[in-house]
């Protein structure tokens, strides 16, 4: 490991984050507020408590996960796609650093930014609902694991993408539907049995469920399974990264 290099990449990426922080924070915070106004107050007042949790509070973990996933994927994919696009990647490839160093630097920075924004949203939501966090350690564990896993996923997309359309495609076509259908805003027990089964194939369900458990101790699936699924997905992403590293896929001629 070349720690100076990892630190340099991390710092450079974080500088980019802080340069654009206002806009990266403004949009998720605004949409979170809108969700609270629409779902929490307007519609939520007509929805019963779910498993003893007030609906407004129930959607908080889902909202945070929605932001965490989209932020992780878009930060990391953009972070590595941009140097590829403008050509500055030559320097990364000619530096005495391995692909692993590059991944650690970029993914670390992307995950940090995603977690920062997630925490800002968490703070924002306390203005709207009463929140207790039953298991803060687990909450942070899920937050970090998810951020790292999906930043890795974003990094892979950034390597794979050949243009900006492809870069936008996955978050739009995959992440958003999975998050919405993953029980972010409802408990899957509210669905017909057939759809409950289908939902079990949605990886995001496990993230949201585990994350929500760390707040309210209510979950769609047991927290152990949630954790295991996050780890499986993490392992899949690491395997893909290793394969890219071995083959130089789409980064080297």
């Amino acid at each position: 490991m070349n720690w100076y290099a990892i630190a340099a990449i991390y710092k450079f990426e974080m500088a980019r984050t802080f340069r654009t922080l206002a806009q990266s924070v403004a949009s998720p915070v605004l949409s979170t507020i809108l969700y609270f106004v629409v779902f929490g107050s307007a519609i939520g007042s007509r929805i019963d408590d779910i498993e003893g949790v007030q609906y407004g509070a129930f959607i908080v973990p889902g909202l945070i996960m929605l932001t965490l996933l989209t932020q992780s994927v878009s930060n990391a994919s953009f972070g590595i796609y941009f140097p590829k696009f403008i050509g500055t990647i030559y320097e990364l490839l000619s530096a005495p650093i391995s692909f692993i160093d590059i991944v650690v630097g970029f993914v670390g920075a992307a995950a940090t930014k995603a977690v920062m924004i997630a925490l800002i949203i968490l703070a924002t939501s306390t203005f709207f609902v009463d929140l207790q966090i039953a298991h803060p350690v687990w909450m942070f564990a899920f937050l970090f694991l998810t951020a790292i896993t999906f930043s890795l996923f974003g990094f892979i997309i950034g390597i794979w993408a050949k243009n900006f359309e492809q870069l936008q495609l996955i978050p739009l076509l995959v992440i958003t539907p999975l998050v919405f259908l993953g029980g972010s805003f409802y408990s899957i027990s509210m669905l017909p049995p057939a759809w409950q089964t289908v939902s079990l194939f949605n990886p995001v369900l496990y993230l949201v469920s585990g994350f929500r458990w760390s707040f309210f101790e209510v979950a769609d699936v047991s927290v152990g399974i949630s954790l295991a699924m996050v780890c499986v997905f993490l392992a899949l992403c690491l395997t893909a990264i290793w394969w890219i590293f071995k083959t130089g896929y789409r980064i080297k001629n």
Binding site: A8, R19, E91, S94, P96, S98
Partner: protein, 309 residues
């Protein structure tokens, strides 16, 4: 002399099946300035990219400072600085941060004094807080050079450093290159301008169609391949070359006012003395005499021509 960069039997076939480098072998000596001279598409950038790790060789081996560039890539690459042909630079970052990033990427400890010195040497210090996107083309190229020098390379690659560069930067660059060479840095630059190779290089490698045609000391290359011309100005113009001088390869100058004699400096005898004697014997008086040496350009054109099918 020890070779600091050693390329052995390097072949690069791009994905589409195009052979950009064909069995290239080249030793670059420590502390020299080597110019790689070749027309567009010759394979100069590909060769540099392979040495720097940007392009995977199809076959062959490369060592830098004795380290294999694949199995010991960290040791090999930490010796190298690269200034790429294209201006590629992070647009929204400041000059100084981009330069610092490069130093970090090469695994070197923060050293603000060295960064300052580098930026000053390239007249970038006043611009250090500007964003790269605000700089002119020439300034951007200076930043690229600063990035490469920020990590104190022992081997510096400059890929067509003067393409689209103004006179001032060109002069600054050559001064810098000479200073670096005095510090023991090995410099490899590519160019398709012969004057450039002639001006700055110690040795010249000529590359065309993915093959190195020759690598020679600049002066010995010029004298070895360089043909000279002797121009003899005559006091009295002549209509034709006299019969008695017909054994010499002479041509008549404009209006018959001069005779031009081509000779090879590497030949054992140039025949000049005998020619001058015979000239006097033929009753011709000279008013003046001058010699000129063919430039690298002529040499290069000859070489590439020979190489053509």
């Amino acid at each position: 002399m020890t070779a600091i960069v050693s390329v052995k039997n390097l072949t690069k076939i791009y994905e589409g099946g195009f052979t950009a480098l064909n069995d290239v072998s080249l030793d670059i000596e420590q502390g020299e300035i080597l110019a790689l001279l070749g027309p567009n598409g010759a394979g100069k950038t590909t060769l540099i990219s392979a040495i720097c790790g940007l392009v995977s060789p199809t076959s062959g081996t490369i060592t830098v400072g004795g380290h294999d560039i694949i199995s010991e890539f960290r040791a090999a690459r930490s010796l190298i600085g690269l200034v790429p042909q294209e201006i590629t630079i992070e647009p929204f970052e400041t000059v100084i941060n981009t330069t610092k990033l490069s130093r970090g990427l090469f695994g070197m400890k923060r050293d603000d004094a060295h960064i300052e010195e580098t930026l000053r040497a390239l007249s970038l210090w006043d611009k250090r807080k500007s964003r790269n996107v605000e700089l002119s083309g020439g300034m951007k190229r200076r930043v690229l050079i600063a990035k490469a020098l920020s990590h104190e390379p022992r081997v510096l690659f400059l890929d067509e450093p003067t393409a689209g560069v103004d006179v001032e930067l060109r002069r600054d660059m050559w001064n810098l290159v000479r200073r670096l060479r005095d510090d023991g840095v090995t410099i490899i630059l590519t160019t398709h301008y012969i004057e450039e190779a002639e001006e700055i290089a110690d040795r010249v490698g000529v590359i065309n169609k993915g093959e190195i045609l020759l690598v020679e000391d600049k002066t010995s290359l010029m004298s070895k391949l360089g043909k000279k011309q002797l121009t003899i100005d005559l006091q009295q113009p002549v209509e034709a070359i006299p019969q008695s001088l017909s054994s010499y390869p002479l041509t008549l100058g404009p209006e018959g006012k001069s005779l031009i004699y081509g000779y090879d400096t590497s030949a054992e005898r140039t025949g000049i003395t005998k020619l001058l004697n015979d000239l006097a014997a033929a009753g011709m008086t000279m008013s003046d005499m001058s010699t000129s040496q063919s430039s690298l350009e002529d040499i290069f054109v000859d070489l590439v021509k020979e190489d053509a099918p």
